[in-house]
Symmetry: C2
Subunit: 642 residues, 2 copies
Amino acid sequence: MARTAIIGLLAAASLVAQGIVDLTRSPYAKLHPVPVKAVRLAGGFWEPRRQVNVEKSLPGMLELLEAHGIVDNFRRLSGRKQGPRQGPLYTDSDVYKWMEAAAFVLQSEDRPDLTSALDRLTDDIVAAQEPSGYLNTYYQDDRAKLRFTEMYRSHELYCLGHMLQAAIARYRADGNRRLLDAGIKFVNYLVSEFGPEKRPLLTGHPEFELAVIELYRVTGNKAYLDLAGYLLSGVERDRLKLSESQIAYMFSGKPFTSRPEFEGHAVRAMYAASGAADYYIETGDAAYRETLDRLWTDLTARKMYITGGVGSRSDGEAFGEAFELPNLAAYTESCAAIGNMFFNFRMLQATGESKYADVIERALYNGIDSGMSLDGTLYCYRNPLASTGEKIRNPWYDTTCCPPNLQRVLASLPGYFYSTNRDGLYVHLYDQSELTWKLEDGTPIRVRQDTKYPWDGSVTLAVSPEQPAEFTLFLRVPGWSRSTRITYPGGSVTAPAGKYYPIRRTWRPGDVVQIKFDSRPQLIASNPRLLENWRKAAVQRGPLVYCLEQQDQAGEKTPFDLSLTAQAKPFAEEFRKDLLGGVLVLKHVGLADSKPTMEQPLYEGIGASQATPTAPAELVFIPYYSWANRGASAMAVWIRLK
Amino acid sequence: MARTAIIGLLAAASLVAQGIVDLTRSPYAKLHPVPVKAVRLAGGFWEPRRQVNVEKSLPGMLELLEAHGIVDNFRRLSGRKQGPRQGPLYTDSDVYKWMEAAAFVLQSEDRPDLTSALDRLTDDIVAAQEPSGYLNTYYQDDRAKLRFTEMYRSHELYCLGHMLQAAIARYRADGNRRLLDAGIKFVNYLVSEFGPEKRPLLTGHPEFELAVIELYRVTGNKAYLDLAGYLLSGVERDRLKLSESQIAYMFSGKPFTSRPEFEGHAVRAMYAASGAADYYIETGDAAYRETLDRLWTDLTARKMYITGGVGSRSDGEAFGEAFELPNLAAYTESCAAIGNMFFNFRMLQATGESKYADVIERALYNGIDSGMSLDGTLYCYRNPLASTGEKIRNPWYDTTCCPPNLQRVLASLPGYFYSTNRDGLYVHLYDQSELTWKLEDGTPIRVRQDTKYPWDGSVTLAVSPEQPAEFTLFLRVPGWSRSTRITYPGGSVTAPAGKYYPIRRTWRPGDVVQIKFDSRPQLIASNPRLLENWRKAAVQRGPLVYCLEQQDQAGEKTPFDLSLTAQAKPFAEEFRKDLLGGVLVLKHVGLADSKPTMEQPLYEGIGASQATPTAPAELVFIPYYSWANRGASAMAVWIRLK
């Protein structure tokens, strides 16, 4: 296959050191995330999850992708395999997402098995690419004439976006640019063939926008940024004859800057907002910033679950109306919570505001972490906030977008912990870990976190610049910490919640900062418009939302038969090493309905029902992320409060 | 077109006097409903609705059916019109349902315009029928080879069922049997071609079962009853290779008697249960009765809205799990509430038990009556129990099943009021009206009801057999009437709720019975498993469920910003002749959140939220059926209780 001429890549030596996104030259980035490889997680909360991902999830998913013929879809195009194409039209993206996850692992550690798997897959993929650069296993071969004719559903750019992200992650891991060159070739084909004066282009499922902007960051080729801007501009609405309902569902096809609120398919909307945030970071376009702010407020004030999950409706996998956040019926696709994290990660870098990191933490510890089983082999597509006990975790889905998406998040997780700016270093997340990186003035620095976070609210940071250096350490104080004490060499302060607390001083090797967050359990109430939550409470402890699972309750009472009571000291805490990989359990003496709710009347005059007898009962809460790891069981986050 | 030989109809003279169903010869019917024409509604609650239906709804819907080409679908097959077939594959049924409604009107009154419209439509329909008897505008012409090959979706038997019901209603109105003969011809074709030893048959959308059993009642041809039994038996599951999900969705395709609960498409399930009840009434099959009882309990103890609406999920227009009854998201299709009424009407005749009449009344006065606008021109497809103000009523739907279904219910309503049995006369419903009929011993009888029901709980019945006669008058005491006083010649009793109160005596012309139901407003609570209703109340007064509509509230507060409070005398009553066709309004001094809920935080620690300030506010309740008649407005049935 002819190798097309591509433009040179930016200084290769520095590229392998770049983060999940590379904002080093982005004019409107307030912060710059550190590379994935700069942070080593070590034996705390997340490292076992990351390890299971590497050891179990990634090998298992590659086997399943092979077993379902999803990789063969590439091989059949080069004649390496025979037989019909398998799976829905967007399956290429699942291979790419797996590859991106594997490549992120390589940014953290040497894994020859993953390297050779990536090489083999890359070989099969590149062999399937057409000379023009076009590559999509559904629209090659017998469906070639449908190419770019049904973009509202085709996922052609979606798949390419995931290919680019995999290629960039690989390139940043070890400099291997084989997939990257193939991706650039396809993008160059798009640049030459599509645009306002040429053929119309559409991202029917947004995702390509953030990928092609990252490609711009890798290559410096402004045509790629402009292509993203063109897609976000929605100018092709008329030429493509898009309907109102398509535009709502796709969250694409009309000017992004005309969006008053989130609607439609939640993953599409989150990816679109992530891409638009990337576009703002590069252009500083005020209309984008206003829109992003408006959408963020819509999301966090009206449309987000307490778990960070988004997208309440199964119908269209879509956002509901404002405050339409049912628990049992919640759709809350794992991919949508991940999209929420991506969106907030970009807003955080754009602004340096802690409220975005709070949403990242909320989604990560709850609605994302719930998506993968503790043993790394089963996945939630939906992450509801209540269940009567249906099976929620499966090894494989026909639309298997969520499993490799969870895998790439866990593999890239070290890259979410820190950012730098001219003033110093931002600490976004807390966990047992070590940062080895440099300040923006070039001073090498190590930061070691010693903590049992999130089980314990104490964090010790050993801050060691290579030599004494004046800079600001920005410590995120989560919104949930009602009182926070920070002690550092020469000072001790009470820091306000929901902000970065800045400590500017001359830091010396070995300086120690002690943080005490208030991680005691809290009862959370929600807006009365959340119709299922009136006079109910959720239990949150630190960043973790808790839940009641039926099998932990005495007499296997369902969570729907139990009530919380208002008490001065409502919760006893017990760390159970043996349970669910080690969790801190919360116990509360509440009430159980004496007659199971299943047997209570459907409707009755008030008076009778007020007298429903109850008896004291111990309620045992576990972290939401750990539910459904012991077989099917009823579960609820929001519990009646009496 | 050749006229096939058909078996003779049962004594034609008596047929025109038959009711909605004719149970006069049904061995397992405990009760026998009176004919539609035996009851004349007169100026009470329902007659204005029935009249609007005749004057506005029926003419308007026929115009729309013509304007959308739905009638032309028949004409194009006989060459009377050209052009492509219009609408989804089941549109024939909408014409038939309209015809059934018109025919029911003819059972009550002479309407030459409707008679001639029916004649014209019948002419077009019969002209489209194939010589074999087959008739379906979607599967004739170019789709003929798909006939009976995709019955899980084809609606072929569904459309035929509606054709039979229209034909029977017409035949019972004026003896005209032209459509009936055409229907019999099609059914005879089925009988000859399909069955266990022949080709397999399936009702992909149940409805045909009740229609073909009614045809058995009209003709006495047992082959028709057996055909229904064959379809309900589900024996063709394997031959048709039906999947579990199809069987769940269709509520058909496996033995009806193996059904543990309601699931799947709610209208299908309700029609299937109605047909199975008809089958029980004819056969007395104990397995059917057990299944019907089990399903009825599942429905009324776990899956029915307080409005009588059923089917909570928009996804698949389906039942949810037990207690999955969301308010804002409620699907509650008008057709499903109607199916609920049909099912309970048949169970009532089978058993004589008042609990079935209670459900009929609940559905009729609430979840069905809400389906048609007060002016008879707009229809709800969904009947949710809360709304943030979306447009809910439309003159037409692409799937326009609900409008003519509502029309046939209103047109046939007089037929639901009374039944007879050997012992005497059952009164199921109360309204200003006159019955002119006969007891089962042949004694002519008139019963005049004088009442302002449901606005007032007093009913005066003038019971006038032509000559003195000993029989039992069974008066339904609704489950909602907490105390009921019945005074009759020579006695006065307090009657228990939720039963028929029997008065056996020798009745003389002009005897008067006075009933005083307790129709004072009640606060209703629901099972805690109804997650949206915890610590909320619905207001019910007599059979009417009430709601708060935004435009009635001071300052246009939304119902989500208002709370009920527990009070000794909670409601003031005011009959407003000028409002919504005349409704009794309920007023309550409750509380309003000082800060609108739209602006309150999504989540916050308890303590803060408990302190949400409130101020006294007057809550103005209107009957649920009358909502959304003054433009879009937020609405709620279940109101926070403080």
